[in-house]
Symmetry: C2
Subunit: 320 residues, 2 copies
């Protein structure tokens, strides 16, 4: 640590003050970063709220000149109101937003940007991507493709599988596209592919359907770990031992625990981590606290989660 | 700041220790991040060294559990040796590397990765991109395209220009491609386009050549701010007032000072900032200090640097 290099900038002064134990209050902080996210309405967004609050505490401790404000909203309309409140009561240097919907949030975010606020968009893009300074998103094509590559290898390039789709969205389309493009290069047959809306109960019902229709199913891809839980319940209830692999995606805590435990039927997952909100918050903080250039696009990889690396994706205190 | 959320992890303990003023020594630090970069052999790499050292001090102050080691090398061979030394004397959690050359560094970096070290590659890719966990680079096509769009607008879509190329590399090819694709959509004529190897003296000589050959030149694009300085000298020496715009790229300090001063001939630049090493270091630190997922690709935008935003790209203490 070269403290002699510090001392010339406001940042340095703040860091030194922090190191000397001076408590920084919101009033002392030079930069304000607002974080607007959906409330914890289901598993994945529950994870987003958890990680945003963790990152808020960590970033404020690390950078005494940065104040982070996390705001949750339970609908697109509520998020629009929250943005108005945040802008009215604070001078925002940056806004990190995971928009409820692209359509309803684009104009309100544009209004915030017009004040000179740095805009970081996470996961779901706005309708006009020229508004954002930084875009952080997962790679849904890789979620599907990496899972498919693993499955092709395990099944020796042949067999019969069924697939469950989520809610009809670009995210679902991309996952299915990445998966099917790889499967089509093999001799694996997709027996059936239907929507279950990323819903555990609907996935349970759909899987019961599949099990009734097909006497042999070598593997199931549920495209999402919430749906995987419903699939596993249906398979177990039917006592079907032909199902060698049942895979999901997203890196849900319960599923990572299976991976860590060396589960034979569910030995992998792929991350589409709600902690990407923390990636976006850290990058935005570095733009201000460190003057590190952060305008651009960050696309997260979707490496397979295996017993070897599962601890990196495991947050025992997170709801997801 | 919600300190009640902390206290369960090593990170939190370290943060609390930091806030209480306990000085952390390298021995206390949980994570070691090595940064391997070219020595300050010319302007841009001088900037890389400056920003790496600044970010080292800032990151160590922000994250008491992270130790950063910056190592410079004056050749590809020296960088390979430096990697061996770094690996032999430290257990590296991460390596941030701006490789001298792709060919010579790929195998040595692969060896480091095989130990489980997280690999962040900056700017110049390795020959095998499956080795890296995180890739951080500028967008050279955007450097050319954004400059061309501005120029087309200023010239009203017509006129005669000359272009200087750098060293024959992918970087130069991409800048020229981005630029010419936009110019071809207009009625602007590129009178001449020759290499001057990103060298100020060669650019001076080439520009003298252009000025002798062409009685009217509305604008010059030098593709790089080092070359721009040579161009400006040649134009001034010839007293040529037909040259309305002389533009470079990279965001060199002297050129940003022109932009800030409202220079009429050089009112903009585009960033290809050496501070991208700091972006890569902050992102890598967040992977460890914050458990924020940082595997993926970050492509920096190349927004125009104008008088309105020039301060964000200006580092008065940097050599570049």
């Amino acid at each position: 640590m070269k403290l002699d290099r510090l001392g010339t900038t406001a940042l340095s002064a703040a860091l030194v003050a922090g190191a000397l134990g001076t408590a920084a209050t919101a009033q002392d902080r030079e930069f304000t970063i607002a974080v607007s996210i959906p409330a914890a309405t289901h598993g994945w967004t529950g994870g987003v709220v958890y990680h945003a609050e963790q990152a808020e505490a960590q970033i404020e401790a690390a950078f005494p000149n940065v104040d982070v404000i996390v705001s949750t909203a339970s609908s697109a309309t509520a998020q629009v109101s929250a943005l108005e409140d945040l802008s009215a009561t604070n001078e925002l240097d940056a806004l990190v937003i995971l928009p409820f919907t692209s359509e309803e949030l684009t104009a309100p975010v544009e209004t915030v940007a017009a004040n000179g606020t740095f805009i970081t968009v996470v996961d779901r893009g706005l309708s006009d991507d020229s508004i954002q300074d930084l875009y952080v998103a997962g790679d849904n094509i890789a979620v599907g493709a990496n899972t498919a590559e693993w499955l092709v290898e395990q099944l020796g390039g042949e067999g019969q599988i069924v697939v469950l789709r989520g809610i009809p969205t670009v995210i679902d389309d991309e996952r299915i596209q990445g998966f099917t493009e790889v499967i089509e290069q093999s001799d694996i047959e997709i027996l059936d592919i239907q929507y279950a809306n990323w819903n555990q109960d609907e996935a349970f019902t759909l899987m019961q359907d599949y099990l009734g229709k097909y006497p042999n199913i070598d593997a199931v891809w549920a495209n999402d770990d919430d749906m995987l839980l419903g699939v596993l319940e249906a398979v177990d209830m039917a006592g079907r031992t032909d199902v060698q692999y049942a895979l999901g995606g997203n890196g849900m805590k319960q599923v990572i625990e299976m991976v860590m435990a060396g589960d034979e039927r569910t030995p992998i997952s792929t991350p589409y981590p709600p902690s990407m909100i923390a990636s976006a918050m850290y990058m935005t903080a570095a733009q201000f606290a460190g003057q590190a250039p952060m305008r651009g696009s960050f696309l997260l990889d979707a490496p397979l989660i295996t017993p070897d690396n599962a601890d990196q994706f495991y947050f025992p205190d997170s709801p997801f």
